[in-house]
């Protein structure tokens, strides 16, 4: 089976708080930062102004530890995300009456004023929370200086020789200061990428690097930098003209928020590398194949230095995020960002890319990629209907061209210098940029696109267009300024002006709209592939294999959904014999799977209360199920593949009498030596009891007890040492033979089984019939109800989810109990025994031993008295009809109510009957209860005696 990721199936829309954190890239970096309880994000209306800027903005201020964030009402003009550890001082400004204003002094000496425009109590409570949160983050401040010092943005400001870190005076922690001061001057080292050594792509003069750097220097000096950047409208323009190469890595980190992750996880990257040094995995093998083909035209990647850098980042990430591992296209992305950033910076940026900016893009199912392609298609049909229609007419699929655009952030499609400018905007403004650019590309090429006839033409057209991005968009214009506009500039203008309607919300809602379609598409594809790739499909038909797959998949989903987050993996991703990824399931998942296939592997109770009747289903746990799991685990991996399960089911579902007996025998033959030990026989009996636990009446119980008696009697008789034991005087127990020596072979087992009608029928057809592949309809159990209530029920079922359904059920149960109409009955696994038969006396046992052996074994003090049992059989074999029932029998309303395992509850009552000779049923006129107690006791006694 190919891999299945249940994660995206169990996708849950982010909560409002999560959405806000998403917007600000303000994700808690570690589990410590998540507040234990209560509200995660506190927000308040505020007007923000920055000292040195005239403009102030009204918007919302958010406190979400460890961050304080602000965004203007239009959600783009002004915003900041400030880690609380960068706030050096908070003062309450007492200006005009009734105004509540806070003044924040940041690490980089900027002063931000926020006027809280809410009512006084709200503002007070916000301030109190802010104070607590600031206090909690205080220890982090110590780490700030060494962290910031190596940022290129600091270096850039410092170049002017200005004293920029006044903050040092305040936060002297003494520890490193002595050393620090001396080396500070000499310290010119800063973080940067391969570009510093191998040159950056593009001509610095043409890119106007110097003037860009100058503008940024001015901006960063007054608006903060790296961890404290405050975004004002001018920053948008600075980003859209392209970031200066030297500052690019620094700003990518800041704009995407990966810098906060790096701050909170210092040393983690190196740690991962050290921990997995020398280890390999399928991901590392895949990485090796691609190292030499990641931006090979860039000079660094023709050297060991560049290759080594790339290898370390990709490998470390594949260890960090095993679910993703490594996906082709990540190599291109990482190769690109490593030109501008250090390894550790790139590592955390990759984390942000894979988790937040491009969710699910690189996962094994690539569901994120497929989803966004679907979203893009839908946006094209909405915004560019003519092109979309033409594509439909000529049967051209948009994704053949657009998939690599999204998957490699255009880096693989356009000349690098242009792609990087798109990446700049992408980090600053989020995933919508990819869509806006894509739409603009199509729009600009609209006329030519209407002429294409096939995929090939589409690809060629796009390729030609990308190759002319640097050319003038209006080569024949008379105005020289018009002529100077390149195709790329035109592209950005179209993208951000004409497609500004595409917002984050558009993307979110489109993703939501198409998610199910994509999920079911992937699921059916995976299913088809899994079924097709089975090596052995046994006697199953294709639909049955599909049903097995579905059931398995549901089990995996059920476990992942119930598990706490990602830590509970229902499916294990391993590799098959060919080294292909493969999903295997563990025991826990297997139990759920089996419970949906075999009737005896679940407990089904029919709960009826005043309203409705419903079926509650729980997964049974028993040694038998574990036994089957390990029996089917032929490669001894402690986990089953789809193939293992198909082969396993095939080995039991189509069996006839003899092969079922053999299957059961082999299953319990622990050492597979062809003999059951005494232990094995007991285990086998317990398995049978387990299967029969919910059957009505005592017929099966009696059968199992007879089976055991027979098995042990026969087994003892066949023991070679039995003859010597014959010497043991009557009344004294022969010493028990060791419980783990070979005891019963298949032929004997078969004989014992065939001696009992019910067991024979069980092994002949009933057992195989307990396996059913039609799929359980899920939580929506068939509910039978009448009248008004049915109407309400129907209405309700449309409204209620699983969770409140549980609540509803609980309520209904309570109510049913209160009016005395609550009833729970267990569904039998076989259900063959009907009510009449249930009332029958369990058949008494006939010894299977031939008279000679029996004599011998009887004289040796063996267990039962054959004579009495046969005579009793005669007296009890007559079926009792309900009319003849003794009056004290309880009337049976629907199905008799009983607990699944009555044995333990009754054993105490019968202690005085411990004498083994009394183990036989002694009379036909007992009540049903007494009879069942007796046979229960028989079983119990045997278990005790032989355990």
């Amino acid at each position: 089976m190919t891999t299945i990721s249940a994660q995206f199936r169990n996708y849950r829309e982010p909560t409002k708080d999560e959405g806000i954190r998403e917007f600000f890239n303000a994700h808690p970096a570690g589990p410590d930062d998540i507040p234990p309880t209560g509200k995660d994000v506190t927000e308040i209306s505020a007007v923000m102004s920055l000292k040195g800027e005239d403009q102030s903005y009204s918007g919302r201020l958010y406190l979400m530890p460890p961050f304080l964030a602000f965004v203007s009402l239009d959600r783009k003009s002004a915003r900041f995300t400030l880690p609380l550890y960068t706030i050096r001082r908070v003062e309450k400004v007492n200006s005009r009456a009734g105004m509540f204003e806070l003044s924040l002094v940041l690490w980089h000496q900027m002063k931000i004023n926020v006027q809280l425009t809410s009512l006084r109590p709200t503002a007070d409570s916000f301030c109190a929370q802010l104070r607590d949160a600031l206090k909690a983050q205080l220890p982090q401040m110590k780490k700030l200086r060494p962290f910031i010092r190596v940022c290129y943005s600091e270096h850039l400001i410092k170049q002017d020789g200005e004293e920029y870190i006044d903050a040092e005076d305040d936060v002297k922690d003494g520890l490193e200061d002595g050393v620090d001061e001396t080396i500070k001057e000499a310290q010119t080292e800063f973080l940067g990428g391969l570009g510093l050594t191998f040159k950056f792509p593009g001509d610095p003069k043409k890119l106007r690097e110097k003037s860009k750097l100058k503008l940024w220097k001015e901006y960063l000096r007054t608006h903060g930098r790296n961890v404290t950047l405050v975004r004002y409208p001018s920053v948008q323009r600075l980003i859209q003209v392209g970031l200066p190469n030297r500052l690019r890595g620094d700003l990518w980190e800041t704009l995407s928020g990966s810098v906060y992750l790096r701050f909170a996880n210092q040393g983690v990257y190196e740690g991962i590398l050290a921990k997995h040094k020398g280890e390999t995995s399928t991901s590392t093998e895949d990485i090796e194949k691609d190292l030499n083909r990641s931006l090979p035209e860039y000079r660094a990647y023709q050297t060991e230095i560049g290759i080594g850098t790339l290898r370390r980042v990709l490998t470390a990430y594949s260890w960090k995020n095993r679910e993703v591992g490594y996906c082709q296209a990540m190599n291109i992305l990482v190769a690109a960002i490593l030109i501008y950033m250090s390894e550790e910076q790139a590592f955390w940026l990759l984390e942000v890319l894979c988790n937040r900016l491009l969710p699910g893009y690189y996962s094994p199912s690539m569901h994120g990629t497929l989803l966004d392609q679907r979203v893009f298609e839908s946006l094209v049909s909405r915004c560019l209907p003519i092109i979309s229609d033409h594509f439909h007419t000529v049967d051209v699929q948009l994704s053949v061209a657009s998939l690599p655009w999204f998957l490699s952030l255009y880096i693989n499609s356009m000349p690098m210098i242009f792609a990087f400018r798109i990446v700049d905007c992408f980090f600053a403004m989020g995933p919508k940029v990819l869509f806006q650019i894509g739409l603009a590309i199509l729009k600009i090429n609209g006329e030519k696109l209407l002429e294409i006839q096939d995929d090939g033409g589409f690809i060629h057209l796009m390729r030609d267009y990308f190759n002319t991005l640097g050319d003038s968009a209006h080569p024949h214009a008379s105005d020289s300024r018009m002529r100077a506009i390149t195709n790329f500039q035109e592209l950005l203008v179209v993208a951000f002006r004409e497609f500004s309607v595409i917002t984050d919300d558009t993307i979110t809602s489109e993703r939501k709209r198409h998610r199910n379609e994509i999920v079911s598409g992937i699921e059916s594809f995976t299913k088809r592939a899994a079924v097709r790739n089975l090596k052995e499909s046994g006697a199953f038909k294709k639909e049955q294999l599909g049903a097995i797959y579905d059931t398995l998949y549901k089990a995996i989903c059920a476990v992942s959904a119930s598990g706490s987050g990602a830590s509970a993996l229902a499916a294990l991703e391993t590799t098959d014999a060919q080294g292909r990824p493969e999903t295997r399931i563990d025991l826990k998942t297997f139990r759920i799977f089996l419970s949906n296939v075999a009737t005896w592997a679940r407990d089904e109770s029919i709960v009826s209360n005043a309203f409705v009747e419903r079926i509650d289903r729980t997964v049974a746990e028993h040694e038998l199920i574990n036994r089957i799991f390990f029996f089917w685990d032929v490669s001894h991996r402690g986990a089953l593949s789809f193939q293992d399960i198909v082969t396993g089911l095939n080995g039991v579902m189509f069996n006839d009498l003899m092969s079922n007996i053999e299957w059961f025998f082999t299953l319990h033959d622990k050492d597979k030596d062809g003999f059951l030990t005494r232990d094995d026989v007991l285990q086998l009996s317990e398995s049978l009891l387990f299967i029969f636990r919910n059957e009505i009446g005592d017929a099966y119980l009696g059968t199992v007890s007879n089976f055991m008696t027979n098995a042990f009697e026969y087994g003892d008789a066949l023991q070679p040492e039995n003859n010597e034991k014959a010497e043991v005087p009557e009344g004294e127990r022969a010493p028990e033979p060791p419980t783990n020596t070979p005891y019963l072979n298949l032929a004997t087992f078969r004989m014992v089984v065939l001696a009992d009608e019910l067991l024979e029928s069980f092994f002949d057809t009933d057992f195989s019939a307990t396996f059913k592949l039609d799929i359980y309809p899920g939580p929506e159990s068939p509910s039978e109800s009448t009248g008004l209530i049915a109407g309400i029920g129907g209405l309700l079922s449309n409204l209620i989810t699983d969770e409140n359904k549980k609540t509803l059920n609980r309520f209904a149960d309570e109510f049913g109990k209160s009016i005395g109409r609550h009833q729970v009955t267990y569904r039998p696994a076989i259900g063959k025994v009907d009510r009449d038969m249930a009332l029958q006396e369990p058949k008494t046992r006939e010894s299977l031993l031939s008279p000679q052996i029996r004599d011998r074994s009887m004289s040796s003090g063996s267990l039962t008295s054959g004579a009495s049992s046969t005579s009793l059989a005669a007296s009890t074999s007559e079926p009792l009809t309900p009319g003849l029932l003794p009056p004290q029998l309880p009337t049976i309303p629907a199905l008799p109510e009983r607990t699944p395992f009555a044995i333990d509850e009754v054993q105490d009552d019968d202690e005085d009957e411990e004498d083994e000779d009394d183990l036989v049923v002694t009379g036909g006129d007992e009540t049903l209860d007494e009879r069942s107690l007796t046979s229960l006791f028989k079983v119990d006694a045997f278990l005790q005696e032989n355990a």
Binding site: S294, Q328, Y362, V400, P404
Partner: protein
Amino acid sequence: MAESGDAPVDKPVQVKLVLLGEAAVGKSSVVMRFVQNDFSENKEPTIGAAFLTQKCRLEDRVLRYEIWDTAGQERFHSLAPMYYRNAQAAVVVYDITKASSLEKAKSWVKELQRQANPNIVIALVGNKLDLVQSPAAAGAAPAGEEAEDEEADDATATPGEGGEQPLPEPEQEGESLRQVPKDEAAAYAQEAGLLFAETSAKTGEGVVEVFTEIAKKIPIEHILASTRGGSGSRAGGAQARPNVTLQEGQQPAGGKACNC
């Protein structure tokens, strides 16, 4: 597209061909050899799929192959249908020095036969022949059913301006690297109704022939008919076309190799 206008007499027939196979078996290299008659160790990786075209002359007809060279990594598998839909031909590549790659190839064949255009012409290609050849063996004519290889060899043996002309490494023990016996793969191909060849993208051996053989099998008349009939209907496949027998030996051995 330039070709999409009116149809001159020898307007090339467009054939959509898709390359499938496990990662790193040399799909891209095979295409590169065919399209540019070149070989490079460090190929740009394939994201989703690379698209290339190459014309191929076969007797009186000119075919224009539109080649989709797909990514081999397993997780890109679910994207493959996008590329093989409407394809008239498929080259399924495996690595003769890696047994598991044939298994993957077989599963691709299965998938194509069930999901793709019902009349798709599939060629099974075992690549990296250079790794198992001693220099002596390389020159010798391949044995058995592929008698036409010998003639076709001439076509490929004249490299373009590349001048690289890599010689097979002198590895006497080369055969031991082989994990997939030729007979076994050929037998499977025969049984599954596939064209079959072993190639070396590095030396160029057998590569062009694969595409020539495919060209011979392609129901060109049908493609022309359906393209004329309306561009949307190409997906269907050939109802009217008589069944093509996909056995190797029946081809006229004298077919001119691609004139690339």
